[in-house]
Symmetry: C2
Subunit: 129 residues, 2 copies
């Protein structure tokens, strides 16, 4: 039975993909894939996603150069979520942090704090707009 047969894409044809740094275990980001972006990810060894807001196929790092080289693709018991181990070049987050999860809640939700250094500014990554 193939890997694809185990997967359940949602009513929009999408499946969430959690991206984890293979070396450190840091969870870097979560983004959505459709069948075509998953196939392209497997074919090229570089992560490709589907942007729900832009309704557009995209390769991680296509503008920033911060690509993700795929090391492993796991899927959960329900077949409706992917966990992808990657080798991340530079910052995963478009805000210039290594991980998109650079903020944590404080107290019982009264506030939040930044938990990791900003590696670059968005202007350094993408240039001035």
């Amino acid at each position: 039975m193939s890997f694809y047969d185990q997967l359940k894409f949602d009513s929009n044809g999408l499946i969430p993909a959690i991206i984890q740094d293979a070396a450190t275990g840091r969870v870097l980001m979560m983004a959505w894939m459709n069948r075509a972006s998953l196939e392209k990810t497997i074919e090229t060894g570089l992560t490709h996603f589907w942007s729900r807001s832009r309704q557009k196929f995209w390769m991680k790092g296509e503008t920033s150069g911060h690509v993700q080289r795929v090391k492993d693709i796991a899927f959960d018991c329900d077949g409706d979520t992917l966990l992808i181990q990657v080798e991340q070049v530079g910052a995963a987050c478009h805000e210039g942090y290594r991980s998109c999860f650079y903020r944590s809640m404080t107290g019982r939700g009264e506030g939040f704090r930044i938990t990791e250094p900003q590696l670059e500014t968005p202007e350094q990554i993408y240039g001035k707009k």
Copy 2:
């Protein structure tokens, strides 16, 4: 500005929560929360979710005893995904594996393999049906 103000729940009032083992970095599962289950999670220090298939509020471990004690709640740059560090009691997966992501793709999607030992059978966790 409060933590809650940073979050974007989707059109169904839900936000995905990635659950990670605080000690090992292993990603254990992903499940969905609504505002009430997030508040209950913060209030009790134990993860609570919203089941989309059963349309029901549930506490992780309510039947199995495999509760998750919350250590940190992070959120991503878009505010539409949570990353929760937990201390996991027993198996996170209802199939008896430590992580729900116990299977990985092989080749270019021709198959898959099991990557971790099964700690218990579902019958051992939930009793015979």
